[in-house]
């Protein structure tokens, strides 16, 4: 009888424990896969959903039913910010009716708010193309900035879910340690890439190039957000034929056709770089994403 009671108690407390962990499970909606990966590193127990893949341009996303349903259930929404998601995030917020993720005071997190973005503009005109006054939002390929974003995101998780503060503290410490150990290795790998010139699509790799010291001498887009035109590509051919360009670079979600056209005529290699986790087979998390990008760049130097 005594044993039975004990057993009963044990079973009861176990089920309680499970319910408790199930409830405590943080539900995170990430706008881009790099922030889903960062969330997994910083909140290993969280239920994470990424609204986009590395094959989808985050500028143009449909505010589709599944995204509304996911945002409805989210405790935290993690996005790049700087207006990258301006064409769809406000609609999701409006339709999902989840006040928890409406403002950055609560469960909303914009990475760009926590670092200095590059290329801020004092005034923006549509004739400039699809530019962001708040600066370039593709900031996740700068290891130093990502470290600052990681610290801020960990603080956000602690704010929303204080019961698991120690878990978030420990995860951040683990991530930072692994990340800081990788930075000198990456710098070593990037050493020979400094000073190289490339033609690339959009300013998607702006932070990466600045960190490594690669110079983007021309853009496949005639203006930000405007797809390559034949007349613009023809003008790039003259630039490419000067002979100082290392490669033509496009991101995994960008159309390769313009780059291939130019590459064939100028006899330059076309390199498709994974823009984020899942952009190629090797990129399984943030560290392997950086590893893959650097090894791909080193192959064409």
């Amino acid at each position: 009888m005594r044993i039975n009671t004990k057993l009963l108690l044990a079973v009861a407390s176990m089920s309680l424990l499970f319910t408790a962990t199930a409830q405590a499970e943080l539900n995170v909606f990430a706008c881009e896969p790099e922030y889903a990966a960062l969330t997994l590193a910083l909140a290993p127990d969280a239920k994470v959903y990424s609204a986009t893949t590395a094959m989808q341009d985050p500028h143009q996303v449909q505010a589709r039913p599944s995204l509304i349903a996911k945002m409805r259930q989210a405790d935290v929404v993690v996005c790049a910010g700087a207006d990258l998601e301006i064409g769809w995030l406000p609609m999701l917020q409006m339709k999902s009716a989840n006040p928890q993720v409406r403002s950055t005071d609560k469960g909303l997190f914009f990475a760009a708010e926590h670092i200095d973005t590059l290329d801020k503009l004092a005034s923006v005109d549509r004739s400039m193309g699809d530019v962001h006054a708040k600066g370039n939002p593709h900031l996740h390929l700068d290891p130093q900035r990502m470290l600052i974003v990681a610290q801020a995101l960990s603080t956000k998780f602690t704010q929303i879910d204080p019961d698991n503060a120690s878990l978030y503290r420990q995860s951040l410490a683990d991530f930072s340690q692994a990340w800081q150990a990788k930075i000198p290795q990456w710098q070593q790998q990037a050493k020979d890439l400094a000073g190289k010139k490339v033609i690339a699509y959009h300013s998607s790799f702006r932070y990466l190039f600045k960190w490594i010291g690669i110079e983007q001498v021309a853009d496949l887009e005639p203006k930000p957000g405007i797809a390559p035109t034949s007349s613009h590509l023809a003008s790039l051919l003259a630039r490419a034929e000067k002979g100082d360009v290392m490669a033509i670079i496009v991101a995994s979600y960008q159309d390769e056709r313009g780059a291939k056209w130019l590459g064939e005529r100028a006899n330059l290699p076309v390199l498709v770089l994974p823009i984020s986790v899942g952009g190629n087979e090797e990129s399984k998390d943030l560290i392997s994403l950086y590893d893959s990008i650097l090894s791909l760049l080193n192959k064409v130097k």
Partner: protein, 399 residues
């Protein structure tokens, strides 16, 4: 006292600063979203019940202002400037507030706004892929149905998107024709209930299904004894410009379906949208209360209903070009004195659009329309060349 004042003012200042920091990322009262939509066209004929007339003209010029009002409310005003027959009209299409902080997935919208029934109705005209709404919208909702009222909406916390909404409206624009102007209309005329659900199929496809029911207290048309008066009333309605529905009934049922696809789910370069809606409007006609039904008026049946549907498919084959096809028809009845005349309108349409950027569209559209007893429309071919462009802040698009 002064200490208290200081404390209060510091608090106020802190509030002001903190609320500014929250709103700074989005539109705020000092920086609301202001936008305008320009729409102009040339067209070689008239489509029945449509806003656009033959020749050069302007579509709806839209001026919109929206922002979060505070932590609890969002507000939007959309003014529409239209010119018809040399006269310029200013209409208010939207002037609503919406709650932002209600719990349990609930939200309330109040004021003047677009009803959420059907698929297209809650979308602005300038986002359409064809120059005019399908004939079913023009016939049963006056193009698009916006009105003064209130909506309560609920979104379920499920992975399958599921939303429920109920609305109540004044319903003036959906009133049945009243030739004598003496009908005692209900001033709370329209109620609606709707549900939508949707989800993804793999990474590349997504879908949404919707069912709506609209109850129109003033929708049933009354029979007329004087044939001529009805004719006059009808002509007047067609000659003048109006957003009112031409074919009404007590009950309207709408089913809608949308399917979207893009390679890898990447909408930037290529994508496909297929959508279709079906409308059935029942209890369209009744004898005026107190009217004695004569034996020879047998052709008025309570089973008669209006119906309409369309299917459209739009493919964006490059960031700069998209093409669409649409077929739609309406089968309606026209009241002639005390009996009903069946009518039909069929429209087959093809459109080709060029997008210089995300914000500008130039469209060429061809329509072949066939009408039976439809206000003299029989067999026409119409070409429309149209531009739609937006400037200023451009709000996020709906699905």
């Amino acid at each position: 006292m002064s200490a208290l004042n200081t404390r209060v003012s510091i608090l106020a200042l802190a509030c002001a600063v903190s609320s500014y920091s929250v709103m700074a990322e989005d539109s705020s009262l000092t920086n609301p979203n202001v936008s305008a939509v320009l729409d102009g066209y040339y067209q070689t004929g008239d489509r029945p019940l449509a806003e656009r007339a033959e020749g050069f003209g302007l579509g709806e010029t839209e001026l919109a202002l929206s922002a979060n009002i505070d932590e609890m409310f969002y507000g939007k005003v959309t003014a529409i400037i239209e010119s018809h027959d040399g006269e310029t009209e200013l209409n208010l299409e939207e002037a609503f507030i919406q709650t932002l902080a209600m719990p349990y997935g609930l939200s309330v919208r109040a004021g003047r706004f677009l009803s959420d029934i059907g698929y297209l109705n809650n979308q602005h005209l300038h986002t359409d892929s064809f120059s005019d709404r399908p004939a079913a919208y023009r016939a049963f909702l006056g193009g698009h149905y916006f009105d003064d009222g209130i909506r309560l909406n609920y979104v379920a916390p499920t992975d399958l998107y599921w939303t429920l909404g109920v609305e109540a409206f004044k319903g003036e624009s959906l009133r049945a024709a009243d030739a004598h102007g003496e009908r005692d209309f209900d001033n709370l005329g329209v109620y609606s209930a709707l549900t939508k659900m949707g989800g993804d199929i793999g990474i590349e496809s997504s879908w949404q299904l919707g069912l709506s029911y609209l109850r129109n207290q003033n929708g049933q048309a009354y029979a007329e004894d004087e044939h001529n008066e009805e004719e006059e009333g009808h002509d007047e309605e067609h000659a003048g410009h109006s957003h009112s529905a031409s074919y009404t009934g007590k009950n309207t049922y709408i089913a809608d379906v949308v399917y979207k696809w893009a390679p890898n789910g990447n909408y930037k370069y290529q994508n496909l949208t297929v959508s279709g809606e079906y409308f059935r409007v029942t209890d369209i006609f009744a004898m005026e209360p107190g009217h004695i039904v004569e034996a020879d008026h047998e052709d008025i049946s309570s089973d008669d209903y209006h119906q309409g549907w369309y299917v459209s498919s739009v493919y964006q084959f490059s960031p700069r070009w998209s093409a669409g096809i649409r077929y739609g028809q309406v089968d309606t009845y026209e009241v002639h004195g005390d009996h009903l005349h069946p009518q039909q309108l069929k429209e087959s349409e093809v459109s080709l659009a060029w997008h210089s950027s995300h914000f500008s569209t130039v469209r060429l559209q061809y329509t072949h329309q066939t009408g039976t007893n439809f206000d003299g429309f029989e067999d026409d071919n119409i070409l429309t060349l149209q531009y739609v462009m937006s400037l200023g802040a451009h709000g996020a698009h709906q699905y």
